[in-house]
Symmetry: C2
Subunit: 226 residues, 2 copies
Amino acid sequence: MEETDSRSTVEIVATAVTEAVRTGRLVPGQRLTESDFTSRLGVSRSSLREAFRRLTADGLLSAEPHRGVAVRQLSRPEVDNLFQVRGALEALAVKLALPALHRAPASLIDIQHGLDTAAEAGDMNRFSELNARFHRLFRETANNPLLNETLTRLSNSLYWLQFRILVDRQQVFETNRQHQRLTECVKANDASGAEAAMLGHIENARTLIQSLPDDHFAQVSTTRSD
Amino acid sequence: MEETDSRSTVEIVATAVTEAVRTGRLVPGQRLTESDFTSRLGVSRSSLREAFRRLTADGLLSAEPHRGVAVRQLSRPEVDNLFQVRGALEALAVKLALPALHRAPASLIDIQHGLDTAAEAGDMNRFSELNARFHRLFRETANNPLLNETLTRLSNSLYWLQFRILVDRQQVFETNRQHQRLTECVKANDASGAEAAMLGHIENARTLIQSLPDDHFAQVSTTRSD
DNA sequence: CTTATATTATTGTCGGACAATTCAACGTTC
DNA sequence: GAACGTTGAATTGTCCGACAATAATATAAG
């Protein structure tokens, strides 16, 4: 099973667990016992624990002393907090990326076209993927590794509900309309308009997620205070 | 030397290293070899490595594969990136904290008064401490643990130059004037004004730091791309 | 003096061991 | 029978020692 020895053991474990979470084999809130994973993946506890620690730092897992790690699942207020931060940072990304994107809007227009097509066709998977690329384009073009990294971590914290949103076709159209507005602002080099459009877009997603029933969120909000 | 056994070994190591960095015993860019610290602190490599990993996640240390960890020192562009992110988040903190601070401005006014006094007296240490409390007040009142945590991490990444700024008395007055403007906006419940004041304040600090000579920054900008 | 090789130092990974803590089953007492 | 404290197993926290993999340094050859 292991043919790629180029990566370190920790990386291998990390990607394996990430994939397991991504595909839903590990459900949100599920506890991950060390002995279980060391035997299944054939790695030592040292490597496993470091992988867990990294994934915890990345926001994919959550850890509690003497109780191990679990697949991260945010409570309702935690999701709210995350979207507040994400909104501010995505708006910043738009501001920073705008000059470059205005000069060379090819990739953006490309993605926008794909989004329109996917929305028309009702291809949710493709739309979801292009939606991610849409946001990634801004935060990568912003040319700020720290910003990119921080936003990526926030996205990771939301993997567990990636499946549950955008299920409504009506919502896909609304979401895409916001994308279009943002794209137009970029073409017109309208900085404040673009920022506002992105903020509104994030705010819309926040409202959408908050409208989900309780059982999608973590119960005992383990608001880990530092 | 250590009489507090209540904390875990990792915590003890983490605070010890943090203190060493804080007091300047460990200089920016200095490499921290494991064997050195295990023998000096009398802990195992396991605990030490986990402490290092935590401090790295907190932004105090930087790590490279097969090369261990070092006291974090940012390059000039990295500092710039950090201040862009910090500006957006501190502005968000102001926005979120404003209602509560407007209702109960006692603590803010208290700190502001202390800042004025310290600035007059030219007490740099006290001013610096109160300055930190000023910012902390906003991000703690914002009632968003994630935001608070993120901003704390950013601050940690800048410990290494905590000494080198605000050495100029002129600058202290200018900085304090910005604090006063922000405090006034809070009293007047002027949200956008307060946000702008904070952004300007951060921007000012950014410019101030960027004016420092090259040897205060990391040379080979290890822009750690993930 | 430059390049290539060998040595050394340091980190990465492993396995086992025991202590500390949590959680659940059990029995006692009222 | 229910509330309570106790015992025990399961799990994590920490330690030790060892070796492999890699990077840094020193040495030798051209």
